[in-house]
């Protein structure tokens, strides 16, 4: 009983210890740039956790990462490595954008869901290629998805800098140049912010915080995926095939079908990654649409141990770090790269600490025997 308690305590303490370790290591860096670590960390915490707009920003930052962590985790669960989440969310975002600027006069309750649906469709389409090639032609999904990411970047450029570029921008003769972006979306395609809902509970967020319902959708999706994986026959098949396709096959589960469906599902979720930004923050898709959510999703998924709830925590951690970075940059003059390095260190420390803890618990259990 005592040991049980000890183990639970340790499990709770580990992330804290890991972050403490990361902090200690990063302190060297901060001292190297001539700042006081204590002040930097204090600023970081005060800034990130002490202001309502920061909390809002953290949740907003975490939103795309929840989706991308889930997308990556789904593919991992089915035993595939989807590096292509990056390309899939770009294509998905464009599909949503297309719906956003093409249709006008639709009521919001049709337009917005349509845009969301289009995004999933885009993600699915872009996931279709690698999974088809994998099943039919034996092409390793890592190679094909890497290639498809680059192809997606170019394709998106073609769409928003060429085919669908907003040509109605007012630019004075010879001065400046039009922005490379799609037309603005109809209001009806935009996702409402969470402010109204939160004010209900007495929480007032400033209007420049873009936290919107996609965050809630992300949380619900995590719950949904958790349910799917552990409470439905399809989720069961995903896990079975992901752990042992040969045994699943012998038991009558067709691994290719499960790969196919699981990967497309991963693509569908990937399609949603960019929407929180696209349909609330931007309102159009431009050439500078944020990249790398797909790659960061890999880290989020694995730090969250491919568990939907772990993914939420990992995404929040990333969101916190990013917001904190803005604070220490603005108020402490800590340059961007220092913060990037700290992020790398924190990821590594957290996963290493988790491993050390795991071993320690095993040893404890052994003594129990």
């Amino acid at each position: 009983m005592n040991k049980r308690a000890k183990i639970i305590l340790l499990q709770l303490l580990t992330p804290v210890l890991a972050i403490l370790f990361a902090i200690a290591l990063s302190s060297i860096l901060i001292v190297a740039i001539g700042k006081s670590p204590l002040e930097v960390y204090q600023t970081m915490v005060e800034f990130s956790l002490g202001r309502s707009d920061s909390i809002g920003a953290i949740l907003f930052n975490a939103t795309p990462l929840i989706f991308s962590g889930l997308a990556v985790a789904l593919s991992f669960k089915v035993g595939l490595f989807n590096i292509g989440v990056e390309g899939q969310y770009f294509i998905g975002a464009f599909f949503a954008a297309f719906v956003g600027f093409t249709f006008t006069g639709l009521p919001a309750f049709i337009h917005l869901p349509l845009a969301i649906f289009a995004a999933m469709l885009g993600g699915v389409l872009w996931a279709l290629v690698p999974i088809y090639l994998k099943i039919r032609r034996g092409v390793h999904e890592v190679i094909s998805t890497i290639m498809l990411n680059y192809i997606a970047y170019s394709l998106i450029h073609y769409f928003i800098a060429d085919l669908f570029m907003d040509r109605n921008q007012k630019v004075p003769e010879g001065l400046g140049s039009p922005l490379i972006r799609t037309p603005h979306f109809a209001e009806s395609a935009l996702m409402p912010k969470l402010h109204g809902f939160l004010s209900f509970f007495g929480i007032d967020l400033p209007n420049y915080v873009y936290l919107n319902w996609f965050f809630v959708i992300g949380l619900l999706l995590a719950v949904g995926i958790y349910y799917l994986l552990w409470h439905t026959p399809f989720g069961y098949e995903i896990r079975a095939v992901g752990s042992n396709p040969k045994a699943s096959e012998a038991a009558g589960i067709n691994p290719n079908k499960v790969y196919f469906k699981g990967f497309l599902l991963s693509g569908a979720v990937a399609g949603l990654i960019g929407l929180s930004h696209l349909l609330s923050f931007y309102g159009y898709m431009d050439l500078d649409f944020p990249k790398n959510f797909g790659f960061n999703g890999i880290a989020v998924a694995l730090m969250g141990n491919n568990n939907p709830f772990g993914i939420i925590l990992a995404a929040l951690l990333f969101g916190f770090l990013n917001r904190g970075a803005e604070g220490v940059q603005t108020f402490m003059g800590v340059p961007m790269e220092t913060i990037v390095i700290m992020q790398g260190i924190i990821i590594l420390s957290v996963v290493v600490a988790a491993n050390i803890l795991g071993r320690y618990i095993k040893r404890l259990e052994k003594k129990e025997a």
Partner: protein, 332 residues
């Protein structure tokens, strides 16, 4: 040691200090072109106005999605003048400026519609096509093969403006001239791919080009390297690239198309310090010395023979005798 001494008097004047904040574009300080030029302007202001101003600069995260937050943080922190470096800041500045009417914003390269002189946004806009026209003419004058090259970073209207001016300038000198144009890529990374910049330039040289102009940010390093290695001429962009190029390459840099972002930044800060900040649109063309071509101790001999002709064209553009196209469409 030094810092401490200045602190004392600084405190007394605190209320009067003009606080200047600047958010770089992705990639940040040290790109040897755009962002660095902005930083140079900032530095110059610091030097000239000393403790009259206080500056701070920030960089967005690698994806660039937090530009707006950074601008907002500076505004919240009571900065008087906030710069956004690059047209990607257009929307962000428009949004934040609305929330902070007391704060002045300066947007480099971006255009926010419907501004007036009393607006709190000032758009600093450059006529890159005019400068490019001049270097196009220079290229045509120097070309022996009748073929010249252009290497752009990403094919977007801004870069096409460089291309259009360049081609027009070259055709102005030699209507039969052939201009080989290439672009490097389709993402922001195209501006930091010197490897491809070099390969494209080498290809153009192989196909006969003997002067190559680049508008590709850090990728241009490769273009200049290619030209120098083949003993052909390169034309730099934004800042005077002869100054930062290695010794061995300098003889091969014909000139650089200057885009005086530094001047623009400096002037804007100056207007703040002198309390005559003007909203709306500030033009930086040949007339305003906002664009131009570089003459320095390394290329002065190289360029000496064509300089009169260039000056002549420059005057004509300023007078409006020559109308420079701003896009490839106009070119045709």
């Amino acid at each position: 040691g030094c810092a401490k001494k200045t602190e004392e008097p600084a405190k007394k004047e605190e209320t009067k200090k003009v606080r200047v904040g600047l958010v770089f574009d992705v990639g940040g300080r040290g790109d040897k072109s755009f962002n660095d030029a902005a930083y140079a302007g900032l530095e110059r202001a610091q030097k000239e106005f000393g403790d009259k101003i206080e500056v701070k600069y920030l960089e967005p995260s690698a994806g660039g999605e937090n530009r707006e937050q950074l601008l907002r943080l500076l505004a919240q922190d009571k900065y008087d003048l906030v710069f956004g470096v690059g047209f990607m800041f257009t929307d962000a500045i428009a949004k934040v400026a609305k929330d902070f009417p007391q704060t002045k914003f300066a947007l480099i390269d971006g255009y926010v519609p419907d501004l007036k002189e009393d607006s709190n946004i000032s758009c600093l806009l450059f006529k890159e096509h005019e400068g490019s026209f001049l270097v196009g003419a220079a290229a045509a004058l120097k070309s022996k093969t009748g073929k010249i090259g252009f290497v752009g970073g990403m094919q977007i209207p801004l870069i096409e403006k460089f291309e259009a001016g360049y081609i027009a300038g070259a055709k102005y000198i030699n209507p039969k001239i052939v201009v080989l144009s290439d672009y490097i890529g389709t993402t922001g990374d195209a501006f930091k791919d010197p490897v491809k910049g070099k390969e494209l330039a080498l290809k153009q040289i192989k196909n006969g080009a003997d002067v190559i102009y680049h508008a590709s940010g850090a990728s241009g390093v490769g273009v200049i390297e290619a030209a120098a290695s083949q003993k052909k001429l390169a034309i730099g962009v934004d800042s005077d690239q002869s100054l930062t190029a290695p010794e061995a390459q300098r003889p091969y840099i014909l000139t650089s198309m200057l885009k005086r972002v530094d001047t623009a930044v400096f002037d804007t800060i100056k207007s703040m310090v002198e309390n005559n900040f003007k909203g709306g649109y500030q033009e930086f063309g040949l007339k305003e010395d906002g664009v131009g071509y570089a003459v320095n101790e390394y290329n002065k001999d190289l360029i000496a023979d064509i300089k009169p002709k260039l000056e002549e064209i420059k005057t004509k553009i300023i007078n409006g005798e020559i109308k420079v196209p701003t896009s490839k469409k106009e070119l045709k």
